[in-house]
């Protein structure tokens, strides 16, 4: 592992609907390196490719060309099974729309990622309750998620992202649906995680996020390419 780099991309290019009329070039020639314990922000206007880069970093999709090294291992050509494995063991993803499963309780949503691993459900429940407690959501654990406020839904999503003790926490436009106070809360939560040693990567164009004093690495993107990388 060179220089404690946890994810490195080389010349990363991603097309959507390649070869079709609605072909979109989402990122082109992106090369970034993110170190273990970085607090990284992908900054840029909407359509700049930051969400695509975030999906690529989070092993949600494979690049059209170029390579991604996660912990020194090239994952760009791994079969889906291994990609899922890496995603499950190293990444925790917080979606812009939260993407909780409707009709299920907060606790069930948080436990969900580890169901197929054969985890002991009693232990899993304890762990999920612990995470919810840390986020101040324990009293809501049996609430169906559709009845929660935006902030509560996000905290549920954070707890779900953390259930597998991920090395890297990724968040896509996390403050888009939150007011200023809740946005600051979110950033504080992220800071706490970062202080605990997690690598945090956030894609956002919200000043509250990228002007945050913890943000050690800001990758500025425009039109699918990296415009500027600042490391504090």
């Amino acid at each position: 592992m060179d220089n404690g780099i946890i994810i490195r991309t080389e010349n990363l290019t991603k097309y959507y609907n390649k070869g079709k009329a609605n072909e979109v070039l989402a990122t082109s020639g992106v090369s970034v390196g993110i170190r273990r314990g970085d607090f990284a922000i992908l900054k840029g206007p909407s359509g700049s490719g930051k969400t695509t880069l975030l999906s690529l970093l989070g092993c949600m999709t494979r690049p059209t060309s170029g390579s991604i090294m996660v912990e020194g291992r090239d994952i760009s050509h791994l079969p889906e099974r291994f990609l899922t494995e890496i995603r499950r063991s190293t990444c925790g993803f917080i979606f812009q729309q939260f993407h909780l499963i409707q009709g299920m309780s907060v606790l069930q949503n948080v436990m969900l990622p580890l169901y197929p691993t054969g985890a002991d459900l009693t232990k899993l429940r304890k762990k999920a309750e612990g995470l919810l407690e840390g986020l101040g959501m324990l009293k809501r654990r049996d609430f169906p998620v559709q009845g929660l406020s935006g902030g509560e839904q996000q905290r549920t999503a954070i707890a779900r992202a953390l259930i597998n003790d991920p090395e890297i926490v990724l968040a896509d436009e996390p403050t888009a649906h939150l007011d200023t106070a809740l946005s600051r809360d979110f950033m504080n939560t992220m800071k706490e995680l970062w202080e605990k040693g997690k690598t945090v990567i956030i894609a956002s164009h919200d000043p509250i996020v990228f002007e945050n004093e913890s943000a050690g690495l800001v990758v500025e993107m425009r039109d699918g390419a990296v415009k500027n990388i600042t490391r504090k």
Binding site: R81, F93, I101, P113, P116, A161
Partner: protein, 390 residues
Amino acid sequence: MSLNSHLNVLDFTLLSLLRRKFKNFGIILVFTFIVFITGSILFLSYSFKREALLILKGSPELIVQRMSAGRHELIPADISKEILKIPGVSGVEPRYWGYYYDPLVKANYTILASSETLPANNHLLQGRLPGPEDKGVAAVGRGVAKARFLDIGSSISLLSSGGDAMDFDVVGVFETESELLTADLIVLGQPDVVRLFRMPAGMATDLAVSVTNETEAPVIAGKIRYIFPDTRPILRKEIVRTYDAVFGWRSGLILTLFAGALVAFIILAWDKATGLSAEEKKEIGILKAIGWETSDIIEMKFWEGLVISLSSFLLGIILAYIHVYFFGASVFAPALKGWSVIYPDFRLAPFIDPYQIAMLMALTVIPYIASTIIPSWKAAITDPDEVVRG
């Protein structure tokens, strides 16, 4: 993957199904109904066939009818002497029988002359059969006894073809257990049958031929037809085959009656299974994005299909058994009985063909599981980042 991982996925599937209680219990209800109907038909027809084959084991090997102008006619009893000369024929006996319409209860009876006595240890007859030459006595089936409120010692009056009333003392009543064979029978002595129907002297309804070796029966039948071209020999084998077919057709009728329900279910299952809703697609995407593998998603869908179809199959088949063997197939009875006034209770012996049950299971459970898994396949193999991008 460990066993616990499968149980966890099953747990999640059940949780997920319970979210749409109304819809999923609705599907189970309709599915159970279909299995119930189909299972009832299978039970009923299989038991009926097996019973009929056992009961008719004692039938005459060969019946010779006479045809005249395209109709079944009385046959001269003395041609039995000619038939007896055919090698392989061990006995010929004329049968005297016919139908009698009773306007009082609007029922058809089958009137039959007795020829042999029953062994004394036969438990299915209360009292005795009239002897072949007895006059003024009758044994009746349970259906007739019920319709005319008869018991041993009472008498029944029938109107002969000559217009005069004939009274018979009831000396025997068949037990309920023999209803499938005897419900509408009135057994009289031979002279009474001849008088009742005003059959010309020397004529019989048909001839029962016994043969020494049943495999030769078709050859003997051919010879009889050669010597008496106006006759129609009916082999026991054909009788049995008739019963093999009867329930095939009858079950066909019931299937037709319930085809509507079946089609409705197929449409429902098709719609449910193939039209993966946007919500379900999104859920599959979320599960993939949070770390479920494609195989986990497929497994979840497998459980979903199995839970619904196996529950329905088991419930349906249990209900079908209870319906047919404890309640006498009461749902179908009206269709099966037709317009008959006297009909037997369907207290069938529960003969079960495990092969048929296995077939029914294969034809209900497997297609349903397949139609649940296949449409979700495409959603399961797409990249999870579609969810990320919304």
